[in-house]
Every structure is written in structure tokens, then in C-alpha cells.
């Protein structure tokens, strides 16, 4: 009985993590949130930000 519960729990947890992984990867890949400098006519492009 305990073994069956462990298997079911494993499948649930494993499935949850797998689903979260796939959803996270797909969402972040399709939703491009990267902000790039708005204008290349700015002669000084920043090397980075650290605000």
C-alpha cells in the first residue's frame, strides 16, 4: 500500500515539475521581454546596467 502511494506521489510531483518546466521554458521563449536600447543614434551605448 505504501509503495503504491509513493509511486502515485512520485508521478504527481514528477509530472508537476515536468509540466512547470515545459510551461516555463515555452512561455519564456515566446514572450520576449528583453529590452534593447531604443535608438542607435545614441552614440554612447551602455556596457551594462547595475541599478
Amino acid at each position: 500500500m505504501g509503495n503504491i502511494i509513493a509511486i502515485v506521489a512520485s508521478i504527481l510531483v514528477g509530472g508537476g515539475v515536468a509540466a512547470a518546466t515545459i510551461v516555463g521554458v515555452v512561455t519564456s521563449s515566446t514572450d520576449n521581454t528583453v529590452e534593447n536600447p531604443p535608438s542607435v543614434s545614441e552614440s554612447t551605448v551602455q556596457y551594462g546596467t547595475n541599478d
Binding site: 516555463g24 521563449s29 534593447n36 545614441e42 551605448v45 551602455q46 547595475n50
Partner: protein, 568 residues
């Protein structure tokens, strides 16, 4: 084999569109179709050389393999090598544990952030770390009795090639040297030979740094480049191998709860495996020492940047530590070894095959689940681009020129965000497209703070550009040994100069400056410094020769092994 395949899957998933046609140009990652072996590339220019020996190696290799292909090989190779090395380091552990450490190593904040930042030599050093631990261990263990021998002595055949691959920049060289010396340097185990190998593979950047010691000492900015927290406070971010200074290259998930989940996962697994690893590893002090060194450097840069700024003026080489989280790969061996032990400890507590494998799947996927936006080109952070045809034409036009002098690149700023690169910021690739040494502005602008460049010749050029008339600017530049000026008109405003047009494609203007009677020849290094650099490159060449021999021997052994198996 399975862990290596898993590492390959993760590499492809992370790089995604970056593997398509075109160059990946992101911040410091600048690759061109055919890099010329100029004075700058060899570290013989007036500026502090930052890409020695990586640029020289690429300039040579891209004569054989096109730069585009070489870049893809480096990016995929670094990630696969890192994962495979981590799995190999814990070879005695279960397959599940090895798969988990592959995920943890490849899908780490360090890889994502440094990939976005374009620090590909650091990615190679990160990938080399597990292999160098293995190499160092074998070197230290090589007493009497059979041991695999390379052409340079007692050590794996692949030791020297990996050491070279992992030492393509100053920071990378420090990481690789520290790892192989901490694990391999033992009395009676040919310490001089090991030290000689390390010295040879690092000679170009060490000597280049010494010959530019004055410029190196003026490098400041510890506060700007210090370890920085994301959702986690800075020291905790470092624990998970995150915490890069540039907040523009931090995946969004690192700003949320996933960073805490990643920390909890890591601490849990390390805690579960720490004791088991400690009692079973004869080199535990060396491994722990590497971790302490990596963390201490990272945290010191965060805790006392102003003190380090002051010390760097007097201590040669200290400025190398200003990007303090860059050396975090030193922490990787301890994490890999303890996590693998932790996974096995956890699995042993589970009863039955299914729960054990379910746990393995969960743990192998967890690093991806808590950093999902590292996928598919860092969720759009990196991509590919093709250089405009006009860039090739400008390079060809300059190659046909015979007048003396170096090239000045305008507009007078270091970084660009070209439309043809999707407006992604990148260190101006134009100097690398040109067949001559160049003078560029090395000033960096970070969050509104300007970090002055170190090249005195660039500072003189900036003064020349401030002259009121185009003819006066041209004359001043000419007196600095500058014969040509190339202006990228798409990158912003640039002061006009009096000169003869050599090539004008609309976006790029190449001008030849009027010859001044007092124009000196292009910059040349003094004879003593030149000799020192020549000796360094000879030593490096010898190391490459040894590595090439090793690689050939390795390939022969791989080919012969299956044949021997068939005969058996």
C-alpha cells in the same frame, strides 16, 4: 554516454536560435568571419589587451575553420564539455546523480549570464573545471604503477588541450590554473613540469599584462563590477553561481521566487551529500579551498570595492578581480561532488525503483524549472546576425591601402547597438573586421557611470578629436600615427575630419588622413617588451604543439580502442 547526450540536449535547448545562420554578437562576444592577426590581437598594441590569447587563437583557427562555424562549435562545445565533465567527475555515482549534476552545471545562472554577457572564454574555463579536477587528481596520484601518460608526462592525454582551452583569457587562465594546481600540485609528483605547463598556457596574457602594467593599474571600477544580488542577496546569489554585475543580462526568473527555489534546491542537495562526500574524497581540502577562494573573491568585491580600488593602484594584477563573480567557476567542483552525493543519499532513502527514478527526473529537471528563461537563446537575449556587405567592402578597401598608420574608429564610443543585430548591445565589431591595428575608445558607460579606458593613445586621440576644425583634428590624429579613420554613420554622431575618401558606402566612411611631415610610424612596442611578448608566444606555441600532439594521440587511441574490442 547518456549524461553527455543530456548535456547536448540542454545545450541545444539553451542556445536555440543562436545556433542558426549568422554570428552571435552580444556585449563582449565579437566574432567576425576572418579575424586578422594584427598587433592588437597579439597584445602588442598600445591598449591593455583584454582578448589575449583568445583573439590570436581564433585568428589562427579561422584560417582553417570559418569563424561562423568555429563560434557555434565553441558555444555548443563549452556547454557539452561542462556537462560531460561534471558527470565524469562523479563517475562512481548513480546515473541519476550524474544526470542531475549535468543539469545543475549546464543550466546554471553562471552559464546563462556569462553567455549573454559574451564571456565565451569564461564559459570554456567553466567547462574545463571538472576535467581539470580529474586531470589534477590523476597527476597527483601518478606514482609507481600503470597510469595513462600524455606526451608531457604523467597525466591524462587530454590534460594539456583542456588546460589550453580553459585558459583563453586572464580570468579563465586564473580559474584553470587554480583548479589544476590545487588538485595536481604535490611534492614528488613532477611539480615543476606541472607549473611549467600552467606558465606556458598563461604566458601571453601574463606578459601582455606586465608590459601594460601602467594601464592595468589605472583600471578601476570595483564597485561597478562587483557581485550583485538578484532576488537573492549578493552572497546568496553567489552560492547559486549567479550575481553578475550587469543587471541587463540577468534572466527575469532570477528576479523572482525561482531564485529562492534554486537556492533551496542546491542547499538541500549539498547538505544531503556533504558528509558522504567529505569522508570519501581524499582531496576534500583542495576542493573546499577552491570553493572558499571563489566565494571569497566574489564577496570581497561586493563587500569592500573601494578598498580594492585603492589597492589595485599598487598591486599588479589585482584589477583582474574587479568583475568579482567571474571567478565563481572555482566553486563548481564542490557543488558537483556534494550534489551528486546528495542525490544518491536521497535516492537510498526511497523504497522502490519508480520513486527513485521519479525523484531523479524531478531533480534533473528542477534546475531548468527554476531558470526557464535560459532556454531558447536566453528567451531572446541572444540571437544571430549577418554583417552588412558594406563592412566586408570597407575591410577589403583598407587591405588595398598602402599608406602607413593605424585606423581610428568612430563614433568615439566602445559599444554599439546596430539595427542589423536586433539592437542588441555589442562591443564594436568594426575593429575586428579591419586588417590593421586600430585605436578605439575604451571608456565604458555603466548605469550612467563612466569608467575611463586605459589606453593612453586613445586618450590622446580623444583630445585630438576635440580640436575645433576638421583639418586640425586630422593633423593631430596623424601625429599620433593614425593613417585612416573609419566612421560608422549608423552608430551616431562623429566629428567630421579632413581626409581623402577611400571608401563610402553610405553607412561606412573610410578616410585616409593627409600625411603630416611629423607623422610617426604606426605604434610600436619597445624592444624589451617586444622580446618578452615574443618569448611568451613561443612558450604558448610550444604548449599548443604539445596539445596538438596530445589530441592526435587521443584520437588514435579512440580509433584503436573499438578495433581492439573487435579483436577481443
Amino acid at each position: 554516454m547518456v549524461p553527455t547526450v543530456w548535456a547536448g540536449v540542454l545545450a541545444v535547448l539553451m542556445l536555440g536560435p543562436a545556433l542558426g545562420a549568422g554570428f552571435v554578437l552580444s556585449y563582449d562576444m565579437v566574432w567576425v568571419p576572418d579575424l586578422a592577426l594584427t598587433r592588437d590581437v597579439l597584445g602588442l598594441g598600445s591598449g591593455l589587451p583584454r582578448a589575449v590569447p583568445s583573439d590570436a587563437v581564433i585568428a589562427v583557427l579561422d584560417e582553417v575553420v570559418p569563424g561562423l562555424v568555429l563560434q557555434k562549435l565553441v558555444l555548443v562545445g563549452a556547454l557539452v564539455l561542462a556537462g560531460a565533465g561534471a558527470a565524469e567527475l562523479v563517475r562512481e555515482r548513480s546515473l541519476a546523480a550524474r544526470l542531475v549534476v549535468v543539469s545543475l552545471t549546464v543550466w546554471s545562472p553562471y552559464v546563462a549570464e556569462r553567455l549573454w554577457m559574451g564571456h565565451w572564454p569564461m564559459l570554456l574555463a567553466y567547462a574545463a573545471v571538472p576535467w581539470l579536477v580529474l586531470a589534477g587528481r590523476r597527476w597527483a596520484a601518478a606514482g609507481p604503477g600503470p597510469v595513462e601518460r600524455g606526451p608531457v608526462g604523467r597525466g591524462p592525454v587530454w590534460m594539456l588541450p583542456i588546460l589550453l582551452v580553459g585558459s583563453l583569457s586572464a580570468s579563465a587562465g586564473i580559474v584553470s590554473a587554480a583548479v589544476v594546481l590545487a588538485t595536481g600540485l604535490r611534492r614528488g609528483r613532477r611539480p615543476v613540469l606541472l607549473l611549467a605547463m600552467v606558465a606556458a598556457v598563461n604566458a601571453p596574457w601574463v606578459v601582455a599584462g606586465l608590459t601594460h602594467a601602467g594601464e592595468a593599474a589605472s583600471a578601476t571600477g570595483f564597485e561597478v563590477f562587483a557581485l550583485r544580488g538578484d532576488a537573492l542577496p549578493a552572497p546568496l546569489a553567489a552560492l547559486t553561481l549567479g550575481g553578475i554585475w550587469n543587471t541587463s543580462v540577468i534572466p527575469a526568473s532570477r528576479e523572482g521566487w525561482q531564485a529562492w527555489a534554486a537556492l533551496a534546491l542546491l542547499v538541500g542537495l549539498v547538505g544531503a551529500g556533504l558528509r558522504r562526500w567529505w569522508v570519501g574524497d581524499s582531496q576534500r581540502i583542495a576542493i573546499l579551498g577552491l570553493w572558499v577562494a571563489g566565494m571569497a573573491i566574489a564577496i570581497l568585491g561586493w563587500a569592500a570595492p573601494q578598498t580594492l580600488d585603492g589597492l589595485a593602484q599598487n598591486i599588479p594584477g589585482l584589477a583582474l578581480m574587479r568583475d568579482s563573480s567571474r571567478l565563481l567557476p572555482l566553486c563548481l567542483p564542490l557543488l558537483v561532488l556534494t550534489v551528486a552525493a546528495g542525490v544518491d543519499a536521497l535516492r537510498e532513502r526511497l523504497r522502490g525503483t519508480a520513486p527513485r527514478w521519479a525523484a531523479a527526473v524531478v531533480l534533473a529537471l528542477a534546475p531548468i524549472a527554476v531558470l526557464p528563461d535560459a532556454a531558447w537563446g536566453l528567451a531572446g537575449g541572444i540571437g544571430t546576425a549577418d554583417y552588412p556587405a558594406s563592412w566586408h567592402q570597407a575591410g577589403a578597401a583598407l587591405a588595398e591601402e598602402t599608406a602607413p598608420g593605424d585606423v581610428l574608429v568612430l563614433p568615439w564610443s566602445a559599444y554599439r547597438a546596430p539595427a542589423w543585430n536586433g539592437r542588441r548591445p555589442v562591443l564594436d565589431p568594426l575593429p575586428r573586421m579591419l586588417p590593421r591595428a586600430s585605436v578605439i575608445n575604451g571608456d565604458l558607460v555603466i548605469g550612467g557611470t563612466e569608467i575611463a579606458g586605459e589606453d593612453p593613445r586613445a586618450a590622446a586621440a580623444a583630445e585630438a578629436l576635440a580640436a575645433p576644425e576638421p583639418s586640425a583634428r586630422a593633423a593631430e590624429l596623424s601625429r599620433l600615427g593614425i593613417g585612416y579613420v573609419i566612421t560608422d554613420r549608423t552608430a551616431g554622431e562623429a566629428p567630421p575630419l579632413a581626409g581623402e575618401t577611400v571608401h563610402d558606402s553610405g553607412d561606412l566612411l573610410l578616410q585616409r588622413l593627409p600625411e603630416e611631415a611629423t607623422r610617426p610610424a604606426a605604434y610600436t612596442m619597445g624592444p624589451v617588451r617586444l622580446t618578452a611578448m615574443a618569448v611568451a608566444w613561443v612558450a604558448y606555441g610550444v604548449a599548443w604543439l604539445g596539445a596538438t600532439t596530445s589530441t592526435v594521440l587521443l584520437l588514435i587511441s579512440i580509433v584503436r580502442r573499438p578495433a581492439a574490442n573487435v579483436r577481443d
